[in-house]
Amino acid sequence: MRQIKHDLDSMKNEGQENVPMEERRQFLKMGLAITGIFAGGTIFSAMSVMDKVFASTDEFTAQYPYKPHYGMILFQNRCIDCERCVAACVETNDVPHYGYRTRILMKEMPDAVGLKREFIPVFCNHCNIPQCTRVCPTKATYKDQANGIVMIDINKCIGCLTCQEACPYNARYFNEEKHAVDKCNFCFDTRLSKGEKLTGCAAACPATCRVFGDLSDKGSDLFKAVHQLERPVWVLRPEAGTKPNVFYTKDTSPVAFK
């Protein structure tokens, strides 16, 4: 292989704007981990951590310090579209017939091997980087810093519907009676603030498809389900960059019926 000689003095600075993003990222990722200690004469040892991937819950909770940090995980294979969750939500939160706080989508794949259909519950993901709160002109919608729920103050909502446009999950609808946009709020005003532990939908599901809980509680079923390496867990539309708090998974073994 021919050696390419570089004469550093004659090389021109290409300018920061011409350095590709990927190169910049790689450079910044070049981190070091301290693997030893400094003790009277012994120098700490540092190890390159360039290709390691970290998942630290402490970093996460530092950036999103909600307590409780409400979220939900859906065991998608268990959903049977009985829509008892939808009925419970409508009943609990006075959802009008033309609107919805939660929907069940159906996916059919005729070419699939074995099972050819599945149901997917969808609702507000209570994102950590919500697109709706970004675009609201009156700050009617906001992420509650106490519990992570994306709330709507109906007194401030002017019905411009920009949030509805912005939401990647189509979670919002305009409620004529309230004269404001409405969406899932994890039944905060109707259940959680009144001492209930579960949202209406989670309580109504006969198949234990919806597991509601507190992500900041390491003992909660939600935390445990989201943090199992052997369990594939995903979110909807990760490319939107919204960091949802609603997760999806499937059972890795046959369902147990009590």
């Binding site: 268990r78 049977i80 579209d81 009985c82 159906m106 005729p110 099972l115 259909r117 019926f257």
Partner: protein, 126 residues
């Protein structure tokens, strides 16, 4: 005129039971305890070629939706080997605690009427 009526009546008398036999009982859409679970006779009788006795001797009455009148018509019973679970145990057919949406057509599937054989049913049962 009377002869014509007699011939038509006779022909219908023969044709209707023949049609019913071909139908094998059609689609049965259970709505209790949850909406809804569909059962296709066509798939079980024509495709899988199962005899009537296999189910109707002991497990199911030959009357649509009779089973859902029982209080124990639950998934737990199926896993214990009752009703559909007699065969859907992972050995004769897929286990009833897998492939939930294969039979559970949900609220969206409640439109399936007896006798119809819509595309939804075809896709679901496999």
């Amino acid at each position: 005129m009377k002869k014509m009526c007699a011939i038509i009546a006779a022909a219908t008398a023969i044709a209707v039971p023949a049609m019913a036999a071909e139908n094998h009982g059609g689609n049965v859409v259970y709505t209790k305890p949850v909406k809804s679970v569909h059962f296709s006779h066509k798939v079980h009788v024509e495709e899988k070629e199962l005899s009537c006795d296999l189910c109707h001797a002991r497990n199911f009455e030959m009357q649509a939706l009779k089973a859902q009148e029982n209080d124990d018509f639950t998934m737990k019973s199926l896993v214990e080997g009752k009703y559909c679970g007699t065969c859907h145990n992972g050995i004769m057919a897929f286990a009833s605690n897998t492939r939930c949406a294969a039979c559970h057509s949900g609220v969206k599937g409640t439109g399936l009427s007896q006798g119809s054989d819509s595309a939804n049913v075809r896709i679901a049962l496999n």
